[in-house]
Subunit: 174 residues, 2 copies
């Protein structure tokens, strides 16, 4: 019934509660993936919907003159989050991610050989430049003892390394 974004919002509120809708937006904006922008037009109506459906509840922050509200999960919200996490998981097709690099490389043959190398090279550069940032996030999460965040950062790191390994293969075979 709820979309992945809505479930993710429940999850973020579960982690950050009590928190504002704005804080939820920031989480998406800071995410390394551009999949969800965390735009105001998406988040505020979505959160109102979740509150209307009693999955979130909110209270005004005392002494705050803008409409700032602090959200928490209700029991129903926690149940919805759990139901989403629990098996059965979606079919594999829903687990295989869409790699924007892969869809490009698929058509690389449309470019002359020299330009192909340039594309692969630039992709490698961009990903390699990104590595230190991910690594520092891994370190930071580990030293601060934030295990879930540590695992997520590890996931990103492993995924980026896999992309780099694949790009190396692509570069080798043209």
């Amino acid at each position: 019934m709820l979309s992945d974004l809505e479930h993710a919002v429940l999850g973020i509120v579960w982690i950050e509660q009590p928190c504002t809708a704005y804080a939820v937006r920031v989480v998406f904006q800071k995410s390394p993936s551009a999949h969800w922008s965390g735009s105001a037009g998406a988040i505020y109506p979505l959160i109102r919907r979740l509150e209307r459906d009693r999955l979130l509840r909110s209270a005004a922050r005392r002494g705050d003159k803008r409409g700032t509200r602090l959200y928490r999960l209700t029991d129903g919200g926690l149940a919805a989050l759990k139901a989403w996490l629990r098996p059965p998981l979606p079919p594999v097709s829903g687990l295989i991610n869409m790699d924007p690099l892969r869809v490009r490389i698929r058509f690389l043959g449309a470019l002359p050989k020299r330009e192909r190398r340039a594309v692969v090279g630039e992709a490698q550069d961009k990903l390699r430049e990104f590595l230190p940032q991910v690594k520092s996030e891994v370190r930071q999460a580990r030293t601060s003892g934030d295990t879930p965040q540590y695992l997520i950062s590890r996931g990103v790191l492993i995924s980026v390394r896999a992309q780099l390994a694949w790009l190396a293969e692509v570069g080798r075979t043209l």
Copy 2:
């Protein structure tokens, strides 16, 4: 200007031409990722748009009484495809894929420990079941000499293995 889907359609037509809009749909439907469904409501209007903008051209298949049309890339279409492939690539945020598994695992702490293991276990099972299929696609592409398809399948394989490696880590640290 054009979306990723539109560019991907240009790419598919470039590979398969001359081909029907239906053939393009089938490519998306057979793709291991569920990101684009290849639904009729997406593809047919999109292809008409591309033809209107002179990026595709089409001809009726002779002796065919349904409106079946065979599409090809125009010079402009090939140029648009190349421009999309060529550097500059999108920023890293556009290169990092959204892993649906990762967004779930992020909130795994909402589940009691025993259930967490079950989630990780099921994800591993589903991905492992999927491996033989990918491997056979790799073999098939290699023996048939279809280098681009070989590289794509390799990409999927590497990505799935990376997910499995990560899941193993997740399982180890709870």
